[in-house]
Symmetry: C2
Subunit: 271 residues, 2 copies
């Protein structure tokens, strides 16, 4: 595959997936520590974009640092700060169905007499009582709004597969008839907020991910370019996907970063 498509226009910023691109579980993917270091050395703008809502940006950053990545919270983009921003902007008062780990992030918001419900992965905090409470709040609202932090089906936990937020969101949607607004990949709103956080336009930004649907297609749907890496959940069949054509397919993150930095160099020479 040639990279003409990827490099036909200037690239001014990057959005990188974490799981399957930077790391697999608790192991850094070979070359990815070096790749991130190269971006930082070149002063090239990027954001690490995740759907993780069980931990704050601070804790996710700490985990990455332990694996050798010298990333900071400022370079991280996660659904929690994104929803806080949306709630502030739209003057919404949330009822929260979230893991206690992340509740402090909402401390500045008015939560009296809620006019929306925010559901994220809450693990053992999903109980009949908490789900029913969120359901009742939605049914009481004049104009009910439901936000879901991602819409994942399940993920691999230490002791096996674990239900993700999508399952609980779909249940609330069915009972209330309210369609949730997704804050997380692959929602365009979410990608565009990350692009906005970089101070760039979608056409100037490239997303690098291992999920051809959520990452590559999600990014392309909102005007970015999407690069697929052959790491993480990548499968050979992704290369001939019936609908999604990545702007490039590369072996790993390091390969992607080298391509991008070379392309930037070439554009500089043209000017």
């Amino acid at each position: 595959m040639s990279h003409t498509k990827l490099c036909s226009r200037p690239i001014k910023g990057l959005i990188l997936d974490i799981a399957g691109v930077l790391k697999d579980g608790d192991i850094a993917i070979p070359g990815s520590v070096e790749a991130v270091a190269k971006l930082q050395a070149a002063g090239f703008p990027f954001r690490l974009v995740t759907n993780e809502t069980l931990k704050t940006k601070k804790v996710i950053t700490k985990t990455l640092n332990m694996l050798g990545f010298r990333t900071t919270e400022r370079e991280m983009f996660s659904p929690i700060p994104a929803i806080v921003e949306i709630l502030k902007k739209e003057k919404l008062r949330p009822h929260l169905l979230l893991h206690p780990n992340v509740l402090p992030e909402f401390k500045d918001l008015d939560m009296e007499n809620p006019n929306c419900v925010v559901v994220g992965d809450a693990e053992e905090c999903f109980t009949y009582e908490t789900l029913n409470e969120s359901f009742r709040k939605l049914m009481e609202m004049e104009d009910p709004k439901l936000f879901s932090l991602g819409i994942g089906k399940y993920y691999m936990d230490d002791d096996g597969l674990a239900l993700d937020v999508g399952s609980f969101c779909k249940g609330l949607e069915y009972a209330t008839g309210v369609k949730a607004r997704i804050v997380g990949k692959p929602s365009s709103d979410y990608f565009l907020a990350a692009v906005d956080d970089l101070g760039l336009k979608p056409e100037e930004v490239v997303m690098v991910g291992d999920d051809i649907e959520f990452d590559v297609n999600g990014a392309q749907q909102c005007g970015m370019r999407g690069v697929l890496v052959r790491t993480g959940k990548f499968r050979k069949t992704d290369e001939s996907h019936p609908r999604v054509m990545p702007d490039a397919i590369v072996d790993n993150l390091l390969h992607a970063i080298e391509l991008v930095l070379n392309s930037v160099q070439n554009f500089k020479h043209k000017i």
Copy 2:
């Protein structure tokens, strides 16, 4: 509305909804105690068909008896005995996500190494742990089967609206990609099992209910006739429903029973 449609063919048995037809909450609907007594006096075959899965037939019968109905367990048809019958017939080993009240009803079944999951209204027993356990069991199965005892969205509980089993079933369906088989109204399998329990054919049986979709349409979809009563959740707009045309619309159960018994008398005279 004439009742020609209802009475054009012999009626040999009846299926009666409980909530909204026999009683509203803890109050017998006027005329319904008399109506059931008339059926029993005439020796006319009928079944009381409910989606209730928090209580055994025994407990539901006791509640009806306290309201003045002289009904027995034998006249009751509920999803619990229906699913037990299906599991036995299809030699399935269930993993149960049900309320502890009804677990003893499954005591004769083999539940080692389960090859299906049965979910019913479990109220406070719906926890992340129990839902995740059912999810994992389904993901481990070679040919996963999911049964849902009804697919209701919510119901009115003593202290307000309460999430029904449908919400949890939809969540499991989303996460696993397995489509549930519904044992309860409005599923045809369920209606046909009740008809079978009467020892009759669908075209010989009339269903009387207050829900134009679940009761009337559900019954008509499997070859029965469906009568709508103007009690319970009936609304004026049901009389001009865009898709469903009841075989009769009557004021209440007593009215329905009088029509049916008269019709039976007329057919006898013809012979």
